[in-house]
Amino acid sequence: MVKKSEPNTQNAERSSMDVPEKPGRKSSKKNIREKADELTVRIEKFKRGPQAPVRHIKDKKLRGQLRASELLVSDAVLSAAKAEQWLLPAEAGTLEAEGMERTYRFQQVEILKEIETVSAQKAFDLSLPTLGPYHLKYTRSGRHALLGGRQGHLAIMEWGRAHLVTELQVKETTRDIAFLHNETFFAAAQKKHVYIYDKRGLEVHCLRDHNEVHAMQFLPYHFLLATIGKPGVLVYQDTSTGQMVAEHKTKLGRCDVLQQNPWNAVLCAGHHNGVVTMWSPNSSGPLVQMLCHQGPIKAIAVDMEGYHMVTAGQDKQVKVWDVRTYKPIHNYFSAAPAVSLDISQRRLLAVGYSGHVQVWKDALNQKATAPYMNHHLPPGAKVENVTFCPYDDVLGVGHSKVHSRCHPRSAL
């Protein structure tokens, strides 16, 4: 792992101590073998399922065609693995503790001192104390961030350059916000209806079919905006044609929690009786109903590959489920009911509860004993939502007092 340090002294020390060895035949062979093993591991990642069985097919023409296409597939897998090995600009890195240190004790201030200035600039605090607790959302590319205050303050900013794109005050309670397909449009769930705004701050649409919305999700591959709220009706609307696609009555009352499974675009809604229901616009009723918690569900998160679902309930439990077999895997306990959950692209789990944010590493497949990182918000602040910024080492926290804060979490 690379250590970011002062250039001169350390290098001088290193050069006196280590004499670099000549690459002998043994070491180069070992190198080749290592690389080959690495490649095999990568090849497994790129195989999308097992090879089709071809031998038992009687039809010669079909058998020949299938064999040829399987060869093409294996060629493609190999070249994808090689491209990743040699062309990927960076590799995953972590925050590592040495000796007696523990990673969860590192303060943000200490971390910022250790990393280079460009990355350190990504961490900042936005102090917006007056206009209610803020929600924070990122676009799919991670370049733009959307801030939505409860009292109607909406803003898009290019957070990396500290550049404000647009800002507007809608003078109404705004309960949730969502970017549409990119930074040019966003939706705000206001007091009565959902409004769509342009990146210049102009109101473009008022979606009157969506009433008293508490939670929104945008499905990027289908261009569908899904909302759920006080009436407990899940409404899907196509944002490219404007057509209403589906309206599902959940019959479970008011719903505040809506999250999508990015792998198959199924929506998970968390209800007051501890049930998580899963919906698709095609079916009339819920696809799945899972009893997850004893008490209302506070937050849901699903990982990128659609394998693990994490739910947080009022009973102060954070449970990890296998969402393909609907079986529980682990239970974690949090000091207070977790208000927000998010899973990053590298499978880190962020848990936000009252005035704290915890990041857990390797918490999904196996049971982690201690968190990876810990962060305490200033006294009196309560977490509103946590989101990881895609393709970057940053976790954004929207909370009530000091409204938006981003800090590096040092794992790709």
Partner: protein, 454 residues
């Protein structure tokens, strides 16, 4: 502590000039690309719809003849040149790219029934119902030779005239030697330097209708006769080798340039049949879809496709082993088609018809013309492969196969389909209700062949 973070410099990801393309960073990790199959399917559906949107096959017409165009010939040594003959005995040489006539060959007194250009591209032989074959010299054909006024083309006389005994119905030039074969009452093989035929074959039929040399095996040629037969001859031997008798007469024959033993015939019963020369008892493929007699057929130089023109005013393009056409071209102004040719670069198809025009069509209707940028080429290849991959799905196939066809053809196709279905049903019932094995189930490809004679 040890930390490794992402450190990206803005410079690396910014393009140098405004005209440069933005570099897209691609990570092929499958977890970043969910629902990949559905995304690909949607792309295939859009690709097939765009194909239909951009399908504009008609390129232009060569107008100038004052009577219906009866025959055409390509020049084997150059791409740009077409020679066509009309029912009033006029032969014109055209520059296809400039869409202009270059030269007129006047001399024949009857309708031109056959045209062929020699392999070296220096001479063109034409035969007519006035019982003469004339040989014309072809210079370097280009539009630059054409005179200023459109009507007055350079007129040329025949270099040589060969007198025959009966009206000629077809002609074809040998691919290597200065030899050509004609079809009249008998099949004659002529030499450029002899005024009498070198060889003369008859085998049964009272008149022979078309002749075609095999480009892949130059000494073999096939003829079709009015006794519903197709005969195979070898120039080196003195005798015809094999004869195949069908149910209806054959209007034209075309050899596959890539497969020496395969040829396709255009039959009067609105089908085309492909045969293997070595096994004439059974056709390798029946190509259906025409509703009236098929008048002419020509293979693409790739040997993977052929074009056929029918009496029902449509031009159809088939895959070499396709039972149904992949493309159909028609226009209100195009009347009965007598001759079709596939251009030498496999990109265009020409049809000569009764309305005195030769029309140029694209072989692939949605293809973009001109020089394509590398990105355009790659996209075209990708879209083609997408459509091919999802062609088994009814949504994609329905859009891909949909063509507008004249009402008369639609009605006639429905009638034919009803007739075929009832015949098949009748046959099935007969087999089902009779003793097993007593009623032989003859495949259609075999059924059409009446007899094979040695």
């Amino acid at each position: 502590m040890k930390i490794k973070t992402i450190a990206r410099s803005e410079e690396e990801y910014t393009r140098e000039r405004k005209q440069d393309v933005q570099k897209v960073q691609r990570n092929l990790d499958p977890s970043l690309h969910p629902m990949a199959k559905s995304v690909e399917y949607t792309r295939a559906l859009n690709a097939v719809k765009m194909q239909r949107v951009f399908a504009k096959p008609f390129v232009g017409a060569l107008a100038g003849h004052s009577d219906g165009v009866t025959c055409m010939s390509k020049c084997p040594d150059r791409l740009n040149c077409i020679v066509s003959g009309a029912s009033d005995g006029e032969i014109r040489v055209w520059d296809v790219a400039a869409r202009q006539g270059i030269r007129k060959f006047l001399g024949h007194t009857g309708p031109i029934s056959g045209l062929s250009v020699s392999a070296q591209g220096d001479a063109c032989v034409s035969c007519s119902s006035d019982s003469t074959v004339r040989l014309w010299r072809l210079g370097s054909a280009s539009a630059g030779d054409a005179s200023a006024a459109k009507d007055s083309l350079a007129v040329q006389d025949a270099d040589m005239i060969f007198e025959g005994k009966a009206p000629f119905r077809g002609i074809d030039h040998h691919y290597q030697k200065p030899v050509f074969a004609t079809a009249s009452a008998s099949v004659d093989v002529w030499d450029h330097n002899r005024s009498e035929p070198v060889n003369s074959f008859t085998w049964g039929s009272d008149s022979v209708m078309s002749v075609r040399f095999n480009p892949a095996d130059p000494d073999i040629f096939a003829t079709s006769g009015s006794d519903r037969s197709i005969a195979l001859y070898d120039v080196r031997m003195g005798t015809p080798t094999r004869k195949l008798v069908m149910a209806n007469k054959t209007n034209a024959i075309a050899w596959n340039p890539m497969e020496p033993f395969n040829f396709t015939v255009a039959n009067e019963d609105s089908n085309l049949y492909s045969y293997d020369m070595r096994k004439l008892k059974i056709a390798t493929c029946i190509h259906q879809d025409f509703v009236s007699a098929v008048m002419d057929v020509d293979f693409s130089p790739t040997g993977r496709e052929f074009v056929a023109g029918g009496y029902d005013r449509t031009v159809r393009i088939y895959a070499y082993n396709g039972g149904h056409s992949r493309e159909v071209y028609h226009t209100k102004r195009m009347q009965r088609i007598f001759t079709v040719k596939y251009s030498g670069d496999a990109a265009y198809v020409l049809s000569g018809s009764d309305d005195m025009n030769i029309r140029i069509w694209k072989a692939r209707a949605s293809e973009k013309q001109g020089a394509l940028l590398p990105r355009e080429k790659r996209k075209a290849v990708y879209e083609k492969k997408l459509v091919e991959r999802y062609n088994h799905l009814p949504e994609v196939r329905g859009i891909e196969r949909h063509r507008h066809v004249p009402k008369a053809v639609v009605k006639a196709t429905q009638v034919r389909r009803t007739m075929q279905e009832s015949e098949q049903k009748h046959k099935k019932q007969k087999i089902a209700h009779s003793a097993p094995g007593s009623v032989p189930n003859v495949p259609a490809r075999k059924k059409r062949v009446v007899n094979v004679l040695e």
